[in-house]
Amino acid sequence: MIKHLFKLIWNKKKQNFLLLSEIFISFMVIFGVFSFGVYAYKNYMAPMNIKYENVWVINYSNTLKTENADSLEMFYSSLKQNIQALPGVIEASYTSANFPYSTSMMNNGITYKGKQYFGVNNYRVDDDYLKTLGGNLIEGRWYRKADGAGKERVIVINKKLKDDVFGSGSAIGKYIDGNNSKDGRRVIGVVDDMKNFGDYQPAKYGMFERIDTSYRKWVGNMLVKVKPGADAAFEGKLYKTMANALKNSNIEIEHLDDKLSSTNKFTLVPLIILSIIAAFLIINVALGLFGVLWYNINKRRGEIGLRRAIGASGNSVSGQLVAESLILATLSLLIGSFFAAQFPLLNVFDLPAMVYVIALLMAVVFIYLLVFVCALYPGRQAANIYPAVALHEE
C-alpha cells in the first residue's frame, strides 16, 4: 500500500508541489525557532556560578584632580575600606565596566604556542572580586596583594578558555602571549565559567586581570555584596559615603538582580517575537493544510467512493488519507533536513552542533504531529462518505 501511495503522490507531484513547499517552509521556520529555543534552554540549564543576589553596583566617575597613580591607589583603597566597614556590607570589589549583566564588553585575543584565540573577555578586577560574586576557583589561586608588587605578569582565566587552550591538562604555571616570564603572562588560577551575559547566554572566554595602579584611573565601578534585607535607607547611606568621598561625581547604584532581569529580557524578546511570528505561521500552515486536505477529499470523492466499493473500509480510507499526508510531510522533511543539516556542518550562527540536531528532531516530530492532526479530521470525514452517493455524484 505504501508503494501505491508513493506512486499516487509522485504522479500528482504538480498538484502536491504547493503543499510540499508549505510544509518545507514551515519546517525551516520551526527548525530556526527550535534551534534558538534549545540554545536558550541549554544555556539556562548551565550553572550561573555568580551569586548575584544582594550584589549592588556603584557606578561613579573619577573626579579626582591628581594624576599621581600612587595617590589614586591610596585614595580608592581607603574608599573601599570605608565601604567594607559599613555595617550592611559583606564584601566589595572594584571592577571594570564589563561586570556581570552590564552592556559593556572588552574583548582581547590571546596566543598560546602560536595559536590565536579571539573574543576573550578581559575583566579588570581586584583581589575581592571572586568573593564578592561568589565565584568558584577550580584550579590554582585567585589574586592577592603580593601580585601587585611582583615583577611577573600573572593572569586568571575561566574554564572555557582553559579547556580550549590547554585541554584536559593543568593550565597553572603555563604562559600565554609569550613563552616565559619576560614577555608572557603566567596562569595562576582557573575559575568556573560565569554566565556574565544572563541566564540565556553561554559563558564565553574570559580572563581576569588585576587592577594595577596604572589602570586605576579608568575604573568606575564597584560591586558591593550587602547583607540580606539591605533597604533604601542603606542604599542612601552608601550613596552618601561615595558622594562625600567623590565630590561632583555622577554616582548611580544599581542592583545586579535587576540588571540580570533586563539582560534576560533583552535576550528573550527577539526569541518571543520570533516565536509569535512562528506561531502565526504555524496557524496559517495548519489552516492551509487543513484546507488543502479538505479540498483534496472533496475533489476525490469519486475515488473514495470507488475505493469503498472495491473493498476499502471507512477506516482504511481514513488511514490512507492520513498516510498520504504523512508521506508528503516525509518528502518535505527530507528536503528540509538536508538544508537544516547544513547549519551544523557550515557552523552557521556558531551554535553547538547538538543544538541543531535536537532542534531538527523536535521540528520533525512537530511537523509530523501538525500534519497528522490536520489530516485526521478530513480523513474521518472521508471515511464517512457514502460510497453510493459519491459514485453517483461522479
Partner: protein
Amino acid sequence: MISLQNIEKVYRTDTIQTLALNNISLDVAKGEFLSIMGPSGCGKSTLLNIMGLLDVPSKGNISISNQQTHNMNDKQLAGFRNKKLGFIFQSYHLINDLQVIDNVELPLLYRDTTAKQRRELAAEALEKVGLSNRMKHFPTQLSGGQRQRVAIARAIVGRPEIILADEPTGNLDSVMGNEIMDILTGLNQNDGTTIVMVTHDENMARKTHRLVRLFDGSQVQ
C-alpha cells in the same frame, strides 16, 4: 446467488419522504446474466447499489452466496465486496493519476497479496479485455471504450462471483458498446460469472438471460 426479499428504500428529508424502491423481491441464480431496465429515477441504480452492499435498504433482507448481509459491520462489508463483487460504472471511475495496470490492481491492494501476484493478476485481467498493450498508459490517454475495458479488468481482477454493472455502455457509441457487451457475455459464458446489469438500451438487455423492469420503484416485469 443473490436473493432480495421485500426490499424497500425510502429517502427522507425534513419535509419529504421518497419511496425509491417498493417491496422488491428478486432472486438471481448463479451464472445468470440479468438486466434491469426502467425510466430514469425509477430506482435501478438504487437497487444495484443495494445488491452491491453500497447502500442499505430501509426494509428487507439481502443474501449473497447464502450469506445474510444485514448484520455485517463496515469492515466485513468491505471485505465481502472485495472478494465477492466486481463493479463496473457508466463513468468508469478510473483514477487518472494511476497507470492502467495500477488501476486494475486496486481491488487487490485490499487483500493479502504480494506486489508480484497483483501485477500478474492485473496483467492477466488486462489480457482478457485485450488491453495488454496499454498497461503503462494513463486513463486520459485511452478512448471511452478502452477505459471501460480497463474498468472491466479491474472488476474481474479479484475473480469475483458477481459483477454489478451500472449502465456500462451508457457513455459509449454502439460499436464500443457492443464490444463491452461481448466481453461481459464472454465473462458470463466462459467463466460462469453472475452479472447484473442496469441499462437503458433494449438491444443490450436482449442479449442477457433475463430482464427485470422497474417503474416508480416497483418491479413491473
